[in-house]
Subunit: 479 residues, 2 copies
């Protein structure tokens, strides 16, 4: 029933808000298109737009380019990780941390376990598996020698050309000869770290950081210094500059664009400053850009590499998260370290499979990638919203979660009194796998944090598992 | 015209010897089958056999199981590398060595260059490229998720099962859980070396050794000690035991079965002793078994790993040379170092492409591998004979070459006065690529040695290039 004293747009906004509150429009749901809503209700386009914009201004819905308005999760603002004790010298990774990574990975290969945390897309139709399969099959038929010929570096020219073309979208101008193709991003990071450090060196890393970096640094005999990293502003550049000015670090490892595990990005001005620091202090910055193509907002924000003057930034990435999880094809642009890296790659693993490198080059050249990325970004933006909505419903009050700028990872801070390691054990006993926060810190911080992943299409089983997890967390509070 | 005073078998033997001398039966040629020769000449089977056996006894032909008799090259006996100065402390690899490797590899990707040296099969019908291509295409069609799903360690169970089944032929009993799948053999070697050493350690290596090991060891901060390695007897175990007893080495790297670059194998009794030394001194032995399946004689001789009691031998291999050069799929069985290696593999490159690992598993399971290997061994035995024959014809007198027990590599020692580095430059100027001997020694030994490869099916262009090379070598002697 319409109240004539209320503006038309306000009635519509109120009605939609009520639907959100009682669950008819859950987090992640798409509002009707402006045109459809106007037609269905006999309203003008401008009236509907005014209603939607009010909801947007109040943080209840968000507009996504070319796809419409979506209901946002009502989860509270992202956490500010506490660094009361400032910069901390790292401890060696505890064996139990490696064990937890191993258990979490092993659990994912067991179909009986529900994985809620790993960043390993499986069984998803978000990726063009069938199209890639047709391409691979056709290439194998037309060029069977790709299977029986030896693969040699530096990898197919077409693939390297396409990598350069797509890097332009991230503000980076590269030539095919700047590119070294690798076995996924992990190999690129590993080679970069080996090339620019020696055992006994110290590197600055973000806190939290990508978990695999911790055993890798330890195995290479590197000391790590955790630099406080805020979801909104990224690695503290003041802290980093202090370390650089004291000559205490030989390299910097950073994931400034869609961070793992935070899911958020460093502002562009800070990226510019980070590149300037690398060049001024002549200290290599290893930039992990694995999720950069999965930024939700377009145009994409540029990488740190975009502001690199003298080649001190080594950028590493891959198509593992953005296009072809099964290919394991990554790349790096090592700047001034190109010669060392080309040699190191050759004596570390020689090359990649020719068939898959060529198929990837062909797919990228065909122009399908831009369209696929648009679809994938929308899908993951929806997944993230849905995940944040479920966290909001399922976890105890006081839980906070980051608001990712891309990708499919959310960093969750549970209230004081929760223990993520105990939660890991309790969840695993129920066939649910998560990664506890201390995996992401060499000194074992983040004991009430977990990373959750929205890379799996949600089934009832997943949603039920997330609720179970929330209940287990609530139980830790003695509720 | 038959001379009745000469036995029938002797007439036949003389006739064949004449044909070998005047080139009608060149090195590598197959004699008519015993049955065909008997039928064609109206002789008994026993008479033909007697003639063939005389030629065999005189070293002119050789019998190969299930394929017949082949004309042997008349090249002199293999060289005994000189180690007048005994064990030598290594020098860092000269940059020019790395440059030569890079030039040789780059040359191979240039279709205008004729490569005579690299171990990179290309454009060969020795490998079942079409059958693998059909398998890959079919698998991609039936299971497109292999391209869009994440690959996780430890790799497909079927592939690991098949690796174990085939390892039995090399005397090694393994379980699928013992296996870590890798990006080719090179990654396996690299991980093994990283797992068992720390910067500053010293490792014992063969001299000559696989060239890529030298920059790898240097990059890892490892010192190397070159242990004299004879084509007939392998690495000197007396020298090695001295080093072990003095606690001067933290690991041993060896390629005892079809060595690269020698092409020859260590006797089985020595392999047994090497395994015993590793277990007695508790020092890890990294055994590179890349060419072991390509041994010419069957049953295959066992690996060092076959005699490993307590898991001190880390065996590394791959299907790159034996089945699918384009797949880049290798494996390792790290024995007592399994846990470290599994962790190191995960934080170094995570996994391999699922589609290719599954396709390889399917091919191996189908039973096609044994038949393919039989064919490949025959092909390479023929190539090697032919190569040795051409070396004999084309190179200056006094040239010696190893007599490989498998694979497709021959190690050539040119006479005093030849210089392999100058030969490299002169050959490259004529569009021919070789690898000079000092690439195979960290201290720059083997300045008049080159490695030649028989992995390319011989064309007139190849044969002409080998003759050009021989002429260039002769010219160095001022002939």
């Amino acid at each position: 029933m319409r109240d004539n004293s209320t503006p038309l747009y306000q009635s519509l906004a109120d009605e939609l808000r009520a639907a959100m509150n009682d669950g008819r429009l859950p987090a992640g749901a798409r509002l009707p298109s402006v045109r459809d809503a106007a037609r269905a209700r006999g309203l003008s386009i401008n009236t509907v737009l005014a209603a939607y914009r009010q909801l947007e201004a109040r943080g209840l819905v968000e507009a996504r380019p070319q796809s419409g308005y979506f209901v946002r999760s009502r989860l509270p603002s992202p956490p500010a990780p506490r660094f009361g004790d400032g910069i901390t010298r790292a401890q060696p990774a505890q064996p139990s941390v490696l064990d937890r990574i191993a258990v979490a990975v092993a659990a994912q290969t067991d179909p009986a376990t529900i994985d809620l945390s790993l960043a390993c897309p499986k069984g998803s139709d978000f990726y063009p598996g069938e199209r890639l399969a047709r391409l691979v099959a056709e290439l194998a038929r037309r060029q069977p020698e790709l299977l029986s010929d030896y693969s040699l570096p530096p990898g197919p020219a077409r693939l390297r050309r396409e990598i350069c073309r797509h890097a332009l979208d991230l503000g980076v101008t590269l030539a095919p000869d700047d590119i070294i193709v690798t076995n996924g991003c992990m190999e690129a990071l590993q080679l970069a770290l080996r090339a620019v450090t020696r055992a006994g060196d110290t590197i600055a890393i973000e806190s939290p950081t990508y978990f695999n970096l911790i055993p890798l640094a330890e195995q290479l005999g590197l000391k790590t210094i955790e630099v406080p990293t805020h979801p909104d502003t990224g690695m503290s550049l003041d802290a980093l500059e202090l370390l650089l000015s004291e000559r205490r670090i030989q390299a910097v490892f950073t994931m400034p664009t869609v961070h793992n595990p935070l899911g958020t990005s460093m502002p562009v001005a800070s990226k510019r400053r980070l590149a300037a620091l690398a060049n001024e202090y002549r200290v290599p910055v290893i930039e992990d850009a694995l999720y950069a193509e999965l930024q939700f907002a377009t145009p994409l924000q540029p990488l740190v590499k975009a502001f690199d003057r003298d080649g001190w930034v080594i950028v590493c990435s891959s198509y593992t998260k953005s296009l072809a999880p099964g290919f394991r094809i990554g790349w790096m642009a090592p700047g001034r370290f190109h010669r060392q890296l080309a040699s190191l790659k050759f004596c570390s693993s020689v090359a990649q499979p020719a068939l898959l490198s060529e198929a990837l080059g062909a797919f990228l050249e065909s122009g399908g990638h831009a369209q696929h990325l648009r679809r994938l970004r929308r899908a993951y933006a929806g997944q993230i919203d849905r995940l944040r909505g479920i966290i909001d419903d399922a976890f105890p009050p006081g839980t906070r979660a980051t608001e990712p700028s891309g990708g499919f990872l959310v960093w969750v801070e549970m209230p004081e009194g929760c223990d993520a390691n105990q939660l890991f054990d309790a969840a695993l006993a129920r066939g649910i796998s998560i990664t506890p926060g201390n995996l992401y810190s060499p000194s074992g911080r983040y004991r009430r944090h977990i990373r959750l992943s929205g890379c799996y299409p949600y089934t009832d089983r997943h949603i039920h598992a997330l609720h179970t997890l929330g209940n287990l967390a609530a139980r830790q509070l003695g509720g």
